[in-house]
């Protein structure tokens, strides 16, 4: 085997030979370049390859004689883009239109909801205004002698101790011959009616004897029990 043949059979030769095109076009890494150049010192076949490839490279790298004019091609590309855009737009437009049409009932419901909400808000505002108006026109507190909402038959209003049991309450009322017709209110006021012909003043006097009765007052001074004896 000749020396040249031996060189060409080596892995180094094979690797270098494969990389010659990129050695020639100058894109190879520095390490590979050094390795190839070292190999070229000893390999005549690769040196010939490099000469041949350089020739091919120079021929191919040279500009073609034909000059391309891109303006006409670009116009055609622009026309395609316009078409693409136009195709996309009608597709979008009906979709939008359909979405728009499809949303009509929804928009109707929305409008109705808004109207309903507006009415509700108006009512709430009116109610609120009425509440404010009422508060302004009437005192914001309760009195046991308030004449409003007097239950029928009421003769006495009374406030009992909160610790009073129901049994004790019944005993007191039984003794005074009174009965509850309304209450207790938020202020703890009971409206009491006479359940006998006893004078109301006597019933009031009996109530006031009990320590559990905090307050007792006749609401109709001239009233007498309507209950038949």
């Amino acid at each position: 085997m000749s020396y040249e043949q031996h060189i060409e059979d080596t892995l180094e030769h094979q690797e270098s030979s494969e990389l010659i095109p990129w050695y020639v076009n100058g894109s190879i890494g520095e390490l590979d370049r050094q390795r190839i150049e070292a190999h070229l010192q000893t390999c005549a076949a690769c040196r010939e390859d490099v000469l041949l490839e350089r020739h091919v490279y120079r021929s191919m790298a040279a500009d073609a004689a034909v000059e391309y004019i891109p303006a006409a091609s670009l116009k055609r590309l622009q026309a395609r883009l316009d078409t693409l855009h136009a195709e996309a737009s009608p597709r979008d437009a009906p979709a939008l239109e359909q979405r728009s049409r499809g949303s009509m009932p929804w928009q109707g419901w929305l409008a109705a909801s808004i109207a309903a909400m507006a009415v509700a808000l108006s009512l709430l505002a009116a109610e609120r205004w009425m509440q404010i108006h009422n508060r302004m026109s009437s005192p914001n507190y309760y009195t046991v002698t308030s004449p409003q909402a007097r239950p029928p038959g009421e003769v006495i209003r009374a406030v009992f101790s909160p610790t009073l049991t129901l049994v004790e309450l019944q005993a007191i009322l039984g003794e005074a011959q009174l009965k509850i017709v309304s209450g207790p209110t938020e202020a703890g006021v009971y409206s009491l009616a006479a359940n006998s012909s006893r004078p109301v003043s006597l019933s009031l006097s009996l109530l006031r004897q009990h320590t559990a009765v905090r307050f007792a007052e006749i609401t109709q001074p001239n009233a007498r029990s309507s209950v038949a004896p």
């Binding site: 891109p70 590309l77 395609r80 883009l81």
Partner: protein, 194 residues
């Protein structure tokens, strides 16, 4: 020798692509004009008909327009565009009837070109290149005309580095079969030129 710039200013390409992603038609036109010549020269190796070259270029830029927002900057813009052009060209050829004819050219290497009958080495080379299978032809084109590195060609063609090396190896071998006298002529011209 007027070797076309492999990589135009990176900033400008990236900026144009960003603008294209935002829907800027003027940026697309600028990129188109910047790449048309290189792509046309490259794609002429796929098909001799300029109408087809133009169609592939425009298909490529339609894809650029639609996919610009997907560009992640993992490669050079030029590599990305070339990769789109490469795939578009292959797909285009597969659709065309002459693809079979182009592929069958690989089966006629025995018909060597006599350089003595040619007046120009460039013509010999062009005829030899036309007889290579497309992938081999384009590997040569990407390396020698466009100046791409082994790794960049692998990225553009979506092939492993080993495959690119093998394509280049076979392309060179076949060129020598087609152009038996070229080696001697080159050697002579090289000696004369150095």
């Amino acid at each position: 020798m007027a070797l076309l710039a492999k990589h135009p200013p990176k900033g400008s390409d990236n900026e144009l692509l960003l603008a294209i992603a935002a829907g800027d038609r003027r940026a697309l036109e600028a990129l188109y004009l910047g790449y048309h010549r290189r792509l046309a020269r490259f794609l002429c190796r796929f098909t001799p008909r300029y109408e087809n070259v133009e169609e592939i270029i425009n298909d490529t830029f339609m894809a650029v327009w639609q996919r610009a927002k997907d560009f992640r900057g993992e490669s050079q813009v030029s590599t990305w565009i070339l990769a789109i052009a490469y795939r578009t060209a292959l797909n285009s050829l597969r659709r065309q009837k002459n693809h079979a004819a182009a592929q069958s050219l690989a089966g006629c290497p025995e018909q060597a070109i006599d350089p003595m009958l040619e007046t120009d080495v460039q013509d010999w080379l062009n005829r030899g290149l036309d007889r290579l299978p497309i992938e081999q032809r384009l590997t040569l084109e990407l390396a020698y005309h466009m100046g791409y590195s082994l790794e960049e060609i692998a990225a553009i063609t979506g092939s492993p580095v080993g495959t690119v090396k093998a394509r280049m190896f076979h392309a060179r071998q076949k060129l020598r079969e087609y152009l038996p006298a070229l080696g001697g002529a080159v050697a002579e011209s090289a000696r004369g030129g150095e």
